[in-house]
Symmetry: C2
Subunit: 367 residues, 2 copies
Amino acid sequence: MERINWISDIIVVVSPENIETMKTIIEKYGHKRVTVVKGGITRHRSIFNGLKVFAEDEFSCHLLQKPEVVIIHDAVRPFVEEDIVSKVVMAAKEHGAAGAIRPLVSTVIASAADGCLDHSLERARYRASEMPQAFLFDIIYEAYQQCTDYDLDYGTECLHLALKYCKTNAKLVEGTADLWKVTYKRDLYAAESIIKDNLSQQVCVITNVKETLGQVGFLLPESLKSQIKVEAISISLSKNDSRLQNIISEQCYNFVCINDKRCAIQETQELVDMLEKSNIPLLYPVVLILVHLDSSENNSFSIGMEDLTTIKKFARETKKKNILVYGLLIQHKDPLLLQETVNSAAALIMALIKDRSPELIGQLLVA
Amino acid sequence: MERINWISDIIVVVSPENIETMKTIIEKYGHKRVTVVKGGITRHRSIFNGLKVFAEDEFSCHLLQKPEVVIIHDAVRPFVEEDIVSKVVMAAKEHGAAGAIRPLVSTVIASAADGCLDHSLERARYRASEMPQAFLFDIIYEAYQQCTDYDLDYGTECLHLALKYCKTNAKLVEGTADLWKVTYKRDLYAAESIIKDNLSQQVCVITNVKETLGQVGFLLPESLKSQIKVEAISISLSKNDSRLQNIISEQCYNFVCINDKRCAIQETQELVDMLEKSNIPLLYPVVLILVHLDSSENNSFSIGMEDLTTIKKFARETKKKNILVYGLLIQHKDPLLLQETVNSAAALIMALIKDRSPELIGQLLVA
């Protein structure tokens, strides 16, 4: 809601024991338009408390300006898009009330007193009432003032109150599947996967301008392109580059740095500093993969423990900033196998980006 | 359904274009009681086709014996437990029909012709009708024979047909949350996470009987125990051990082998062979983590590329058998840091078990 700039105030209604936690969250993420209000013992009583902030002095240190339209939403529907919020608000302006609906996934039935089927509803005629809903403020506030204690204690549907007490038939707006309610443990799993999916849409591949990187620096972004949107830039990280700044400010959450030095910690630190300043890692972890190239002819080539210790230590430090660092070694002794090795590196990079595993930070994978 | 031994026949109704795929699946997993039947163009027509196998010669090469009770279930509800199937069947025996129900997650509303709210249903009075459902065969078959083309084309609810055409009020049985319908992409994510969760309940830690392993062989299982059920056994893999056989046959999907040799491929192959014979990796991937200990005093210790190549090659081979092999190196030069190193190894093991990433096979992680 903070991201939608035409919303002027945001009231978060929270149970008394969680108010301090909520205030900490609001401060951490720098939310500016949020007022926290104490919840009631039922859904309707909580919503009523939220509405009172605009109408009754006692509920807020500073009375907020009464809005024309108020949106009511559930925090358990975190994937709501601006588009549906906007549609519901426009419909509420015209009809006085509006709410998002979805097709029913299951048939709805009524049971008789003996626990047997009384009748089933024809699925096509009914809809699931979802959130967000929006109302002319005067209508919904009037409805809450008029409604009975029974409504406040046992009801759940705001559209019903607007209809019953203000004779307002809400406009129903077809919503999208992402309005679903995060209810069960499986929904938390789904939410986590959706967020990880959203974070895995784009990767920025940074190559240090060196001739020796030539082939891999070209082949690796190409191989990644079949799976993800790739921004490939060739710069020196020690110089402030505006293209890189742009990519960061466009909310890119994945970076691959290709170097010919084994542990280019110094250069990488510059990128970490830029990311930290950008606030990008505040909400979600950023993935940063350090790719080291090795083209030594020596068959007895080996990874030194010192390198491993260096990257591990670095990764532990950057994790505190919510940046997950992994190492990836690309060997390209045999030019005939180069494409294959690069493809295998791209597969490892995609796995690291998609999994975002905090346990695997500081490990050095080998392609 | 195959796992429930009191079910005598299983009819899988499949759209014509997927019949061959389904037959391949049935053969692959060795299902014995399954008959595949061609689906119709609607849900009800498909169910009717399934029922006809027990009553009409033309629908099956061999007429199956007519059952007393028939269970109807959706393939999109794969997490159904035997307990609820059993409850629904018992209720159907007594009442003629029965079905699982769940509380409504959203309020259900009826819309008027103008797209506005007509009325909302009191959520507490209604239930979502889920699957499985069960019926006395004669009742549901009679209902399908009697019902109209309109029912067959537009209806979705079997309980409704039993009520309408056979005056049978189905008994409603409260179901569990795992009856949910895998409908949207997010449900596939949730299903994947639930399966991975189920596979991450138990790990078998195998130590090769050697004095040098002593401390880690004891500390590692202890550290894992705070996060997962651990079966620790100390055996030589080259000998056929009945405890290991028991653990495998109890569907353990995670194995950790601790060795002091760097790449104990030979011994591990014995375990891979045992797993392959057990059919355990048929349905889900098995995770096999090879833990190598290194206690060399030499500071210039390094991982040879040869070792990496060996484990990678081995992992690629075993992946074909649906066994995911990862390497993990535990360094314990400094006795003071041993507990910390072991804890970090346990965290890596848990991450590998939970993620089951096919891309990271053959990698050597360092604790």
